[in-house]
């Protein structure tokens, strides 16, 4: 899909599709019987018809409409659940996930986007009509007709400025109340002063009226506003979608059975049933049951930990093998998850102190413009003693130093850049993230779940004798342990053997009888072999068959994330320092670092250690990019200069990051740095263009030579230049 750059009111329509919400009903919340499913793989007309046709064929479905921009389908099916419809889509080959409509919440952003578009439409219409009349005036319309044209322009401009200028007036008023001068104060002043003066001139049949300039200023600046809003809305909506994929529920034991309740309603003392393969919803103590617990997301440790009654578990860990009953000790705001959030907030506020280039520019801009306008007013008044002439010139100065270029320069570049990264699978959540990313000189990676997939893979399947493979497969199929799943995936060409008395011993392994002999698959100590796990990278499990000699060791390694090796190589090539920081064991970490050619690595680092390490690097004057996915990375992610987390990361980690990788591949991280550097270069170029233009235009205005025609030409020329310069970003090679 290549699209020509369109120079229209919205230069990025096709860059990053508008993350407008879906319908009015969404603004009011989802109606009864409405379901929203996410369709990550839908991409063409055939997909639309397939999905809609298949869903409409289900009895009870009244309406189904696919939104391809958002890759969602909205279904009106009273009385049906998502679980009834997911298999229907699976059968025709579409992956679908239920979205939690409460987490999507696009109503407000949606309304705001539409509101801005409406104002742009009105300003655009008014601008064109006033321009027609202005051209007539510039071409030399004489007294009476010139005044008529001015009056008609006024009749169009006044309501337009009153309606379309509202966003600026509102935020200028807010800035003044807080005793600040933002960009919007000079903008509002220019709009109001220009309109008032033009009205006064028209009444006294003067020569110059700036109605066209005022409305054009409004139009261009609204476009900048809209681009800004939309970039943020897309990021917000995609981030919300990631959260909406996790519908957090827990199974609580109550009198007379079990009930499924939202996690938010859990109280300390509640007893929860935790099935194998589910995430622990709250901190607690195991009341009964035995299992193995995957703590990778919290500690980065890939080895499962054996837990039994009396052990403490934290929210976010994954129960692997046995059913557990958990007594809640802390839920919601008190859980260890939430305590880390406090750390995150502290670091976030430190990051909030970063002022973007645009902010710094506008801070310098506002006072300079006000002083210039005031100075030219006073100067001319002192020379001519003519208040009308002096005010006219002051207004011309305000208009011609138009911040169009400033107001458009940054949003246009950010939109083009984030659109490009979005297509590659990287989502920018934070407006200043691109600029911060451009300054990065050190990249710190977490290991488990970031450089690796966090799922084990059998290292050398050939070490399993062919006659035993069906037995291993049958044993592995009896358990939902990640290692068992890896075995099932690796041995898919065999048929499982016939086993009797298959029994899973949670936390240890699986035993069964095969042709009358006992076979076991599981932990070394359970099979009575001694094995020092810490000496070797990866994880191992053992297989013993009665009467077949010594048990066989099966080794697993954590599969590399696709693109990880290329990504690290490219970062090295671009002259960045790469550091690997993991909570896992030294042997495993060293092994991976050697594979990826990362020279600097630390193992067995706890969450606070990670954050401290990032702090230390920052104190050395390094600008650190942190890439991580777990709870143990959260504080580090928030403390780093800029941070990225994969979509599979824990919610808390995604919240703490500036960017989210939406795909599996890690390569976009390297792309992002290149793109960010280009974007920052473009932003600075655009500032230079604006400054250059002002250096030329301001003296003309101060000298009193700026006619409305010159103002209009200068203004549109500068706006178009910066927009075109921003669009170069979309087509440059990376």
């Amino acid at each position: 899909m290549t699209q020509a750059a369109r120079f229209s009111a919205c230069p990025a329509c096709d860059v990053a599709p508008l993350a407008q919400g879906i319908a009015r009903r969404e603004a009011e919340g989802v109606g009864q019987g409405e379901l929203i499913l996410s369709l990550p793989t839908a991409h063409c007309a055939v997909c639309i018809t397939d999905v809609e046709r298949a869903l409409m064929a289900v009895p009870g479905v009244r309406r189904a409409r696919v939104n391809l921009t958002l890759r969602r389908v909205r279904i009106d099916a009273p009385g049906l659940e998502a679980s009834d419809l997911l298999p229907v889509l699976e059968r025709i080959g579409y992956e679908a996930h239920e979205l939690d409509p409460a987490a999507l919440d696009t109503g407000a952003t949606d309304r705001m986007g539409r509101d801005l578009l409406m104002r742009i439409g009105v300003a655009g219409f008014a601008m064109m009509n006033i321009m027609i009349l202005s051209v007539a005036v510039w071409s030399g319309a004489d007294e009476a007709s010139r005044d008529l044209f001015h009056w008609i322009s006024a009749a169009i401009a006044l309501p337009t400025i009153a309606f379309a200028g509202q966003p600026f007036f509102a935020s200028a008023y807010g800035a003044l109340r807080a005793r600040r001068l933002g960009m919007d104060v000079p903008i509002s002043l220019a709009l109001i002063l220009a309109t008032a003066i033009s009205l006064y001139e028209t009444r006294n049949s003067g020569h110059h009226a700036y109605f066209d300039a005022a409305v054009m200023l409004c139009f261009f600046l609204l476009i900048g506003r809209y681009l800004d809003h939309r970039t943020r809305a897309i990021a917000r909506s995609a981030a919300a979608e990631l959260s909406a994929l996790e519908v957090p529920r827990a199974t609580r034991l109550c009198e007379g059975g079990e009930e499924v309740v939202p996690v938010a309603q859990l109280r300390p003392g509640d007893l929860l049933r935790i099935l194998p393969g589910t995430r622990i919803p709250a901190d607690g103590e195991i009341a009964e049951g035995q299992s193995e617990i995957d703590r990778a997301l919290l500690t980065g440790e890939t080895l499962p930990f054996a837990a039994s009654a009396g052990d403490m578990l934290s929210a976010g860990e994954i129960n692997l093998t046995g059913p557990l009953t958990l007594r809640v000790t802390a839920a919601g705001a008190d859980s260890s998850l939430a305590q880390l959030t406090a750390l995150v907030e502290a670091a976030e506020s430190a990051r909030g102190r970063y002022t973007s280039l645009a902010e710094r520019a506008s801070r310098a801009y506002a006072p300079v413009v006000h002083i210039l306008a005031l100075a030219s007013f006073l100067g001319w008044f002192w020379i001519t003693r003519d208040i009308r002439h002096s005010v006219n010139i002051a207004a011309a100065v305000l208009i011609i130093t138009c911040p169009c270029a400033l107001g458009l320069a940054v949003p246009a570049v950010v939109t083009a850049a984030s659109g490009r990264l979005f297509r590659k699978g990287l989502l920018i959540k934070n407006g200043t993230a691109l600029e911060r990313l451009a300054q990065v000189d050190t990249v710190v990676f977490d290991k488990t779940g970031t450089l690796t997939m966090g799922t084990p893979r059998l290292v050398s399947p050939e070490r399993i004798p062919a006659e035993l493979a069906p037995v291993v497969l049958a044993l592995a199929a009896a358990s939902s342990h990640p290692l068992s799943r890896a075995l099932v995936a690796a041995l898919d060409e065999y048929l499982p053997a016939d086993l009797a008395e298959v029994h899973e011993c949670p936390g240890y392994g699986v035993s069964a009888r095969w042709n009358g002999q006992e076979v076991r698959l599981g932990r070394a100590d359970w099979l009575r072999v001694s094995d020092d796990q810490n000496a070797r990278p990866g994880i191992s499990t053992w297989l013993s068959v009665e009467g077949q000699g010594a048990p066989i060791r099966l080794d697993f390694t954590d599969a590399l994330r696709p693109g990880a090796a290329d990504c690290v190589a490219r970062l090295h090539r671009d002259g960045l320092q790469v550091i690997l920081l993991s909570g896992d064991r030294l042997a495993t970490v060293a092994d991976l670092a050697a594979k990826l050619d990362i020279r600097e690595y630390r193992a067995a680092v706890d969450p606070l250690g990670k954050a401290a390490m990032i702090d230390g690097l920052a104190r050395q004057g390094r600008q650190v990019l942190m890439v991580g996915d777990g709870l143990n990375d959260t504080a580090a992610l928030a403390g780093a200069h800029v941070s990225i987390s994969p979509a599979t990361a824990l919610d808390a980690a995604r919240v703490a990051s500036d960017m989210v990788l939406t795909g599996q591949n890690l390569l976009p991280v390297a792309d992002a740095i290149v793109t960010a550097r280009q974007a920052t270069r473009r932003i600075k170029e655009n500032f230079s263009i604006s400054i250059l233009y002002n250096i030329v235009a301001v003296p003309i205005a101060v000298a009193g030579l700026a006619t409305p025609l010159i103002a209009a030409l200068a203004m549109s020329a500068s706006s178009i230049t910066v927009t075109l310069n921003a669009l170069r970003l979309r087509h440059s090679k990376s």
């Binding site: 096709d14 063409c44 007309a45 639309i48 958002l70 409406m118 439409g121 064109m128 008609i152």
Partner: protein, 53 residues
């Protein structure tokens, strides 16, 4: 110059129609799925009669 008395209202009227059309399109959610709309043209699902919703 008398022609102006006709032409100016005409130009304003035409522009007004355009603005009205834009507002109508915006209000009836026509800008919500640009990609989907572009693709739907290619499907022959509703060629004979419009979709009944």
């Amino acid at each position: 110059m008398e022609i102006l008395t006709i032409l100016i209202p005409v130009s304003l009227g035409l522009g007004g129609i355009g603005l009205g059309a834009f507002i109508w399109a915006l209000r009836s959610h026509q800008f919500e799925d640009p990609k989907g709309d572009a693709e739907r043209i290619l499907s022959d699902e509703w060629d004979d009669h419009p979709r009944p919703d």
